[in-house]
């Protein structure tokens, strides 16, 4: 029997060497990026992670899917402590958590066709029936199957981000981490990609962590919201609650700073 929470994170700390401030000889000083973070992500829920630049949201995300190794603390995925597993031990788990990146232009190989891009992780994990899986993934993200033979540069920004989503869901993962995946898109394609993601979460029963600096986008998509500042959780609460009555002044400040497309927003004149 698997436990209710898919991820359980306890007092997570992560520091990296400060290469900018490093002196010419000797070891670089370390900067603490994550400073004691604890939370859980329930199965089937969408967690929004929000914070200003440098708050540690991308580092936290990369630690969750173990692209980075924590300095201390624990990350438990589906009952298994993955905090310090080596690459070989992680391999079978990697299928189960996937990532979608911010900039599809740099995260999709420009020299491969769409089918090759989506098929690469399938091959890596030794799956069979690759052609069928690629077609299914394209169907899921609403791209015509004819797009299999296109190159990334032949696609629009929104279509490229759909390919990034197709690559992530083709493995049928349980968990997807989406790092600022709509911030580079125009509002019209942003809305489409979010609707798509919303549908996929429901249809495939995905658990999703959605990183964004845009609280309006988070409001639409997420069940719970975590507000990060300087590597610590400022507050974490159900989405409806945090937007109706943020408990922390930092969160209040973030909300008030969003220029809403209306004429009568308080605090702007």
């Amino acid at each position: 029997m698997s436990e209710q929470s898919l991820f359980r994170v306890e007092d997570l700390r992560l520091s990296l060497p400060d290469l900018v401030g490093k002196s010419f000889v000797g070891l670089a000083a370390r900067i603490e990026i994550l400073r004691g973070i604890s939370f859980t992500i329930q199965r089937g829920k969408v967690l929004g992670i929000v914070g200003g630049s440098g708050s540690g949201k991308s580092t936290l995300a990369r630690a969750l899917v173990r692209l980075l190794e924590p300095t201390s603390g624990r990350i438990v995925f589906d009952g298994q402590d993955i905090s310090h597993l080596d690459e070989q031990a992680l391999r079978p788990l990697r299928r189960r958590f996937q990532m979608i990146f911010q900039d599809p232009m740099s995260s999709l190989n420009p020299r491969r066709r769409v089918k090759g891009i989506i098929a690469a992780p399938l091959r890596l994990h030794g799956l069979t029936g690759i052609d069928r899986r690629v077609d299914e993934a394209l169907d899921h993200v609403g791209l015509p199957r004819g797009f299999r033979n296109r190159y990334p540069h032949e696609l629009s920004g929104g279509q490229r981000q759909r390919v990034g989503i197709a690559r992530a869901i083709a493995l049928r993962p349980e968990f997807i981490l989406a790092d600022e995946i709509v911030s580079g898109l125009d509002v019209s394609s942003q809305a489409q990609v979010l609707r798509l993601l919303e549908g996929l979460v429901a249809e495939l029963g995905l658990t999703l962590a959605f990183i964004s600096h845009d609280l309006s986008v988070i409001r639409r998509l997420c069940d719970d919201v975590m507000v990060l500042r300087a590597g610590q959780i400022v507050e974490m609460a159900p989405s409806a609650e945090i937007f109706a009555a943020p408990r922390h002044s930092y969160t209040r400040g973030l909300l008030d700073a969003i220029p809403l497309p209306t004429l009568d927003q308080p605090g702007w004149n």
Binding site: G52, G157, V187, H213, L254, P259, L260, P261
Partner: protein, 290 residues
């Protein structure tokens, strides 16, 4: 009264290629703040570049006039055109990191333009720079003048570029997505600084942005663009009550709004896109026949 800036029927095209701006007309009065709004490729930055005479080499003006204080700058010889534009207009660029030279201190990057192009004395230029840095809320202006760009935060760098744009008291400033790269809290500070400076100095602003939220906060009027064509030219107060074009209405409905999660982030319907594209195609057919 003559407008500060009047663009008449401006078409810009790639050399032997398609039009990037399609018979654009717009007017900006002294002290007016106009938003240029559209999605990527709509041509909003291209209008600013045409006015400043900094179109990319691959593009050229194929028809139309750009009247700055009543004079068509397109008919002037290059040297005179540069002088004229430099005296009337300035730019606040999008990316505060690439707009500042990383190997030069801040001071000269503000004052050189005043000295070299406008012929000011260096002492006068430096005094002016200090004054303006204080006006954009930089607390130790004299020290910041000696800093290099990498020693300052993104918000500080953007404030320096704002100070620099206002330094010579231009009548017109083109702000090209000046807050797109910034965090929301910093964006709010910067927008308030721009609005305050604009009001105190009576400067007219062409504010290029993709964000209708930003438009509602800083602009009085706006032009909505699609594929280099102006679809709508209206007052902000009217626009947010009832957009005048189906595409602009769809753009507004697609803009996220945390106060209305169900009613915002609406995808732009394919029929809306087809209709606006048909409008652009019809304009192109008509243009070829003239």
């Amino acid at each position: 009264m003559t407008a500060l800036l009047e663009i008449e029927n401006l078409s810009v095209a790639l050399k032997n290629g398609p039009r990037l701006l399609r018979s654009v007309s717009l007017r900006l009065d002294r002290g007016e703040v106009r938003g240029l709004v559209g999605e990527s490729g709509a041509g909003k930055s291209m209008i600013g570049k045409a006015v400043l005479g900094i179109l990319p080499r691959s593009a050229e003006v194929v028809e139309g006039r750009i009247l700055l204080e009543g004079t068509d700058i397109l008919t002037l010889p290059p040297a005179e055109r540069r002088r004229r534009i430099g005296r009337i207009a300035a730019l606040i660029p999008q990316d505060p990191l690439t707009a500042l030279n990383p190997s030069h201190r801040i001071g000269p990057q503000i004052t050189d333009r005043l000295v070299d192009i406008l012929g000011w004395k260096r002492e006068k230029a430096e005094a002016r720079a200090l004054e303006l840095l204080a006006e954009v809320n930089i607390s130790a202006p004299a020290r910041v003048m000696r800093n290099y760009p990498h020693e300052l935060s993104g918000g500080m760098r953007q404030r320096i570029l704002i100070a620099s744009a206002f330094a010579a008291e231009p009548a017109l400033i083109i702000a090209d997505e000046p807050t797109t790269a910034l965090d929301v809290t910093v964006q709010k500070q910067i927008l308030k600084i721009i609005a305050g400076m604009q009001a105190r100095h009576g400067t007219a602003l062409l504010f290029v942005t993709h964000d209708l939220g930003v438009v509602s906060k800083v602009c009085q009027s706006l032009s909505v663009l699609y594929a280099g064509k102006v679809l709508e030219d209206t007052q902000v107060a009217d626009f947010f009550r009832a957009p005048g074009h189906a595409y602009s209405a769809a753009l507004l409905a697609a803009t996220p709004k945390y106060t209305d999660p169900e009613g915002s982030l609406m995808p732009v319907g394919p029929e809306v896109l087809a209709a606006v594209q048909a409008e652009v195609d019809a304009a192109d057919r008509e243009w070829r026949h003239v």
